[in-house]
């Protein structure tokens, strides 16, 4: 019962702040709403018994990406201009509504093979063992290389000439 109440509160928070990100005029306020959206998603991970991912969500998204976005908003002085919509607004809205309808239709009409077993908890040890096992160690190292090259690329792009 407590899980359900938590889910509905978090879902309302996520959808509300996502709508605020899209519809707020002030870009800085939209970024603050994005942080609240990320916090709600971390809570959703907790209700899904993914404790490590909830922590990683707080560290990476709230601590890293949101701060980066806020910094770029301050660097580009674009707050007075706001975030107006371009001429694609109506087609984009229709596309999003059609996509949402299709997704909800297919979700409600699919019979998912839901398992009754209890999930692994806590997940940190199991995730660490899995990431460094035979199957995932090559993707793990590749993603490390990707991160390194992305950081180098970001430095080269943002550097003063």
């Amino acid at each position: 019962m407590g899980l359900q109440i938590a889910f509905w509160i978090l879902a309302a928070m996520i959808i509300g702040s996502a709508l605020a990100v899209v519809f707020l005029k002030n870009v800085f306020r939209a970024a603050i709403a994005l942080i609240s959206c990320f916090i709600g998603i971390a809570g959703i991970y907790v209700t899904l018994s993914a404790d490590f991912l909830a922590g990683a969500q707080v560290l990476i998204y709230i601590g890293g990406i949101s701060v980066l976005i806020l910094l770029v908003i301050l660097l580009t002085h674009n707050i007075p201009q706001g975030s107006p919509a371009n001429r694609l607004r109506v087609p984009a809205f229709l596309l999003a509504v059609v996509f949402l309808g299709l997704m909800i239709f297919s979700i409600l009409n699919t019979n998912f093979p839901v398992s009754r077993r209890t999930p692994i908890e806590p997940t940190t040890v199991a995730l660490g063992n899995l990431l460094f096992s035979q199957e995932y160690v090559l993707p793990l190292l590749t993603v490390g290389m990707l991160l390194l090259s992305a950081i180098l690329g970001a430095i080269v792009l943002a550097r003063e000439k």
């Binding site: 991912l53 969500q57 990476i60 607004r89 997704m103 398992s115 990707l146």
Partner: protein
């Protein structure tokens, strides 16, 4: 009515649709990037929900979510660096005015 897989999937579909609308219809490039982050997060919710409800004895979905998070971080860093470079060259980040490759 107990909490099921469908609740999480519909929540993530709503978040993805909102992000899609924002990413396609906004002029400010920072808002477009924020909406892309929201869409990646919606996919992550789907991955973790499937991992929790369909294969709770494995953590495959959570491993995928971790990889998506890393790629999202790399994408945000490079995207925002490109934004700063564009702002320095053109003094704007309006996606309608960044069209020098068009003509």
């Amino acid at each position: 009515m107990s909490l099921g897989l469908e609740h999480y999937l519909i929540l993530s579909a709503c978040l993805f649709a909102i992000g899609l609308f924002g990413a396609l219809s906004k002029k400010n490039t920072i808002v477009v990037l924020m909406c892309i982050e929201m869409m990646l997060n919606a996919v992550n919710i789907t991955m973790v929900a499937f991992s929790r409800y369909v294969t709770p004895q494995f953590l495959t979905g959570q491993v995928f979510a971790i990889f998506i998070m890393v790629v999202a971080a790399a994408e945000a860093a490079v995207g925002l660096a490109i934004l700063i470079a564009i702002y320095r060259a053109h003094k704007t980040i309006d996606s309608d005015k960044i069209n020098s490759m068009k003509d």
